[in-house]
């Protein structure tokens, strides 16, 4: 991609479309928004491919950070525009969502197996978190709420929200360290 070959972008897109589309579709309600944000994500990858530095992290982290940032931008803009209530969001949670399968989103069986295995391990790790810590993580990650907004929404003191989020992240980091190594 760094040499300007659009076929490389196509190959990259085929490899990563399922996970990017899954993440963005989980965060946004409108199918049009999802399609726009997925395209924006890969376009940003194309335009900024020369900025990716392998030593600073994995391709996966770089790509998914871009995807989530673009989705959060869209989510927050939509909220501001419509003064949309976050309570309208569905009642799904991270652990139950991990039940879903990649097999419908990719034609590559080996990729589907890898994704499903990752999804399974993450589900186990999330399932081990106390419910209140998992909730803080969900609201921050998928709903894009800040800690202050989470405190306001849950009626908990800000310090408690900060503690829950820290503990959840520390536990997840411990549990998922084998996955981080293979993502490189």
């Amino acid at each position: 991609m760094q040499s300007g070959d659009e076929r490389a972008l196509g190959t990259f897109y085929d490899r990563w479309y399922p996970i990017v589309n899954g993440l963005v579709a989980r965060m946004l309600k409108s199918a049009d928004d999802v399609e726009d944000v997925v395209e924006e994500t890969f376009w940003q990858v194309w335009r900024q491919s020369d900025r990716f530095a392998e030593g600073r992290g994995s391709v996966q982290t770089w790509l998914l950070t871009i995807a989530r940032s673009r989705a959060l931008d869209r989510l927050r803009a939509t909220r501001r525009r419509r003064e949309d209530s976050i309570d309208e969001d569905g009642g799904e949670n991270l652990a139950s969502l991990a039940e879903a399968s990649f097999s419908t989103a990719t034609n590559d069986p080996s990729l589907a197996v890898e994704h499903n295995e990752r999804s399974r391990l993450i589900k186990v790790a999330l399932g081990e978190l106390p419910q209140e810590q998992r909730e803080a993580l969900e609201l921050g990650y998928f709903k894009g709420l800040s800690q202050s907004e989470i405190a306001e929404r849950t009626g908990q003191p800000l310090g408690t929200v900060k503690t829950r989020m820290r503990l959840a992240m520390q536990k997840l980091r411990d549990r998922l360290s084998p996955l981080r190594e293979v993502a490189r």
Partner: protein, 292 residues
């Protein structure tokens, strides 16, 4: 104007920064600190790797139709090709054949193919006789190999899952052992005068900023209450998390928090409302002074 944070303040906010869950001012302050602090920068990068993994917990909607996927793909590659042209990028590719060149090559191949056909027909007759016998044997072997492959694949996948689980467990245990037996670990003993005489030891791994509390004989808190662990410093009391003991009164709490070596005055556990409090409000359950 971006407010300046101390290392401890910035370090404590790195998890939220990795999740992009800080308000804008605080986020800018944390990122400004991380730009100039190698340990915070490394910690933030590692936390972002963890955050990225959470994408795999999202659903993968079946309504993501091939139409949508192909539509985006076509638009992207067309935009990329146009962009490359605008930027004057020339990608070296093998030249594609014109239709006339392609037809000429096909015709030449056909001529050569016919010349060889007579010889090939003779050879094929001989090979056919031999081949039928060989093929029957090969087909049997192939079926056997296929069965063996299916069995081996399933076995490998089971082994991989077991290995992943064990690796996670071993890493967790290693981390715990390092946190209480490492070279740079300080220990604080916590005691109480309560009837049940709960006891606890806090291990502080300076090199990893790791804290491990191991407690015994703790009574179960009342309904709606929890225990909360505090690091007491001259500057204030730092919340190190809430926890509950098991039915035997034992508990273990692990936390990561960067603190200067000489700034710990004591370690304390208090009884607080469920979910914890920003500052201690409840009864002291157990306390230990940090000896310098």
């Amino acid at each position: 104007m971006i407010p300046e944070l101390s290392h401890e303040e910035a370090f404590a906010a790195l998890e939220a920064a990795a999740l992009d869950a800080l308000d804008a001012t605080e986020r800018d302050a944390v990122l400004a600190h991380a730009d100039n602090c190698e340990s915070c920068r490394g910690e933030l990068a590692a936390l972002r790797e963890t955050v990225a993994q959470l994408a795999y917990a999202a659903s993968f909607p079946s309504e993501a139709t091939p139409d949508s996927r192909d539509r985006i793909r076509s638009r992207l590659t067309a935009r990329a090709a146009a962009d490359a042209r605008v930027r004057g990028i020339v990608v070296e590719r093998k030249p594609e054949l014109t239709s006339r060149q392609y037809q000429a090559i096909r015709a030449r191949i056909n001529v050569l193919a016919w010349r060889r056909a007579e010889w090939l027909a003779l050879a094929a007759s001989v090979l056919l006789i031999v081949g039928v016998g060989v093929m029957a044997s090969v087909l049997r072997d192939r079926e056997n190999l296929k069965d063996a492959l299916v069995g081996a694949t399933a076995s490998t996948q089971r082994s991989q899952r077991t290995t992943d689980s064990l690796r996670t467990l071993v890493m967790s245990q290693d981390s715990l052992i390092n946190g209480i037996t490492g070279r740079d670990v300080a220990m604080v003993q916590l005691t109480s005068t309560a009837t049940r005489q709960p006891k606890a030891m806090m291990f502080w791994d300076h090199s990893r900023n790791g804290w491990t509390l191991i407690a015994h004989n703790l009574p179960m808190p009342r309904a709606g209450r929890t225990y909360q662990l505090w690091l007491v410093t001259p500057a204030g009391k730092i919340n190190a998390g809430t926890f509950m003991p098991d039915t035997s009164g034992a508990a273990m709490v692990r936390a990561t928090y960067a603190l200067a070596r000489d700034s710990l005055s004591a370690v304390a556990v208090t009884d607080e409302p469920a979910g914890g409090m920003p500052q201690p409000t409840g009864q002291m359950v157990i306390l230990g002074s940090a000896t310098k």
